[in-house]
């Protein structure tokens, strides 16, 4: 693992136990998060990205469980840590920003107490004043006025609450922040401010951010690289500009096509054929093949492997496999 890579996820499989059997929310997922980058993880609702985000911090609860894989964070495999050691990692080295800031804050606890409690949980020797001082500094950096810190969550606006969430994630200088649908509950203007904030933080603190969202616009706005998930598998990963300019995986192509473009007049709204698959009985071979306009015979039979399709750009698709390329050309 190079010094450049902060988090290396290898062969991660996360399963849900349901009444009807085991469902894989993430199936043998492999990718890296590099230091100082903003990586976007996109996919439809229900493709498994939220579960993945939680699993990266081993925050998932029954009935979800990690069925296999390694989580190499900063030189250590998180899978080998005890619960106590993992607890020390959470909040201090990896922080999380949740989707709905209203429900993510304890309604009967003041904001300042949220912050000082987090500090105390990891550095119990810190005095109360010191903890409060740190909280104040942090809040200021994030544009929260000091006197607001005494408020309760319901007294703040949505955007302010989301900033509180970030400050909580940064309270101990976490190296990685995982943001799970952070802007979904915000309106567009607040969202824009929020994304600006993320960029600033990356600049100032050297923060690494994994942003999980179904909103491609957000990714385009803020991310350096993007990873695309479909049906519990990672299907494409690469630089944002590259992927947006020339998406390789048919799913990504369809995804980008379906974003309405105000400049094309007279064009119909594009929609992909078919519906997302049932993860209990996923399609054989490539999971996208029933909906893929380019599906070949092999697609229904064998799962494709990751192929290099450009500079630091990979896609999991038979189209780009050497042998099948020959076939297509034929």
């Amino acid at each position: 693992m190079s010094a450049e890579t902060l988090f290396s996820i290898r062969n991660l499989t996360v399963e849900y136990q349901t009444r009807a059997g085991a469902v894989k929310a993430a199936d043998d997922v492999n990718f890296d998060i590099r230091r100082g980058e903003i990586l976007g993880l996109v996919g439809e609702s229900g493709c498994g990205k939220s579960t993945l985000g939680k699993a990266l911090m081993r925050l998932h609860r029954i009935p979800a469980r990690i069925a296999g894989g390694e989580l190499w964070f900063d030189g250590r495999d998180l899978m080998t840590l005890s619960e106590n050691e993992m607890r020390a990692v959470r909040g201090a080295e990896i922080g999380m920003v949740f989707q709905d800031p209203m429900t993510s804050l304890n309604p009967v606890q003041r904001i300042i107490d949220h912050l000082t409690e987090t500090v105390h949980a990891h550095e119990p020797k810190t005095s109360d004043e010191e903890a409060r001082a740190r909280a104040n500094v942090l809040a200021e950096k994030l544009g929260i006025r000091a006197e607001r810190l005494k408020d309760y969550p319901h007294q703040m606006s949505g955007g302010m609450r989301q900033r509180v969430m970030i400050s909580l994630a940064l309270a101990l200088r976490a190296k990685l922040v995982i943001a799970d649908e952070p802007t979904t509950s915000l309106d567009v203007i607040v969202e824009a401010k929020f994304l600006d904030l993320l960029r600033e933080l990356r600049q100032e603190f050297g923060l690494t951010i994994l942003i999980i969202t179904h909103n491609i616009g957000v990714v385009a706005e803020v991310a350096d690289r993007v990873a695309v998930m479909y049906a519990a598998r990672l299907v494409e990963i690469g630089g944002v500009k590259e992927i947006f300019a020339d998406p390789k995986h048919p799913y990504t192509q369809g995804l980008l096509h379906s974003v309405p473009n105000i400049q094309l007049d007279g064009a119909e709204l594009y929609k992909m054929e078919g519906i997302p698959p049932n993860l209990l009985y996923p399609p054989s071979g490539c999971r996208f093949h029933p909906r893929c306009p380019f599906a070949m015979e092999i697609c229904g039979v064998e799962e494709p492997t990751f192929e290099a399709v450009g500079n630091d750009h990979f896609a999991e698709c038979w189209l780009y496999h050497q042998a099948s390329q020959v076939e297509v050309e034929k």
Partner: protein
Amino acid sequence: MSSTEGSNTPTKRETEGWQNDLQRVGLVRRLLMARKWYGVDWWFVAISAVMVLAFIFIAFFPGLLAPYEPDQIVGTSFLHPGKYPDVPVLVVRTESTVETLLDLATPEGEDRPSVGVVQGGTEATAVREHSQELDDQLIQDGNGLRLRPRIERYDDVQELLNAVNDGTILAAVVNSNEFNQVKSDYPDLRSGDSILGETASAGGFIMGTNEIGQDVFSRLLWGTRIALIVGFSSSIISLLLGLPLGLLAGYFGGAFDRLLSLVMDSLYAFPGLILAIAITSVLGPSIYNVIVAIAVLYIPTYYRIVRGQTLTVKEEVYIEAAKSIGARRWEILWRYIYPNVIPSVAIIFSVNVADAILTSAGLSFLGLGLPPTMADWGIDLARGQRFIQTAWWLITYPGIAIMLIVLAFTMMGEGLMEIYNPKLRER
């Protein structure tokens, strides 16, 4: 390039496949699958269901298991559990035809029969008194038969029974318990009926007898009937009144809702038992009054829960959707809201029956509920309370019975709630 049509079909068929499979699987299979999923809660419900069914069965056919009628006086009072009644019985040689004292009657003038007793016991008096009675009867009948047995006293049971064995005397009168203890030593002897005319219980009274000689075990079994009748009747009445009121108040709201809710909340906050005490004290002890009093107590519970559920469901988007396609209010109430309310109602019903039985027992215990002649556990407890020092079994067994039946229904409600309440599920 293969067509999209062809590659869509396999997925579709697969999807249909597993859904059909799940439906085709029978009820039994689904119950067993549920067991794996719900774990302990499944067992909670299953065990309690078995218990409830057992109780219902007993309530329908108490005669099958109960050796006696609940009001029947079958033995001496205050018999300890398991003890045979201590009755004096005739002991004769196995081949003898003598069954009762009457069989010892002889015609006037003939030898008087000899009956042996142990020195110093009460049997002598018993024999004499009883023979006197029978003798007077015989004189009246005028058959020329008389019963004036000669009473021979022996020092102890062994001597007495030996005398019967070798024919010195015709019969002996011994305490049934005493005889049972030494029975094995005298294979040629058998015991007849109690000379007092009562039937000696074949198996003893496994839970003893109460202060007037009734069999506790039989009363226990028969008591199931009253308990379940009171429990179910009052719960059904509460349900029939509380459910519609809750639905209407929740759905239509307005002043009607506010007023009714105020009344129901006040009622709900008031101690149920005390209200029931008030009602029954005025109306008087009768099973109908008890049922009515308890029914009144639980109407607010149904009302509140149903109204709460209705309010929640009312806000769901599919109600709005239904309205937008022109569904009428009654339809919405009946088709959408009512089915959502049913699982909660079933749970409340279960707990309600349990509570009703407890309250009814409490009322009877205080002397306010059922008429004291009924075979009810609460009444038995009230009666037995006076003898707590000497006859502990009078209160122990009925109490356990109440506990078990209440437990059965409560467990069922608890278990069902774990399974159905979406807020308690983890997915």
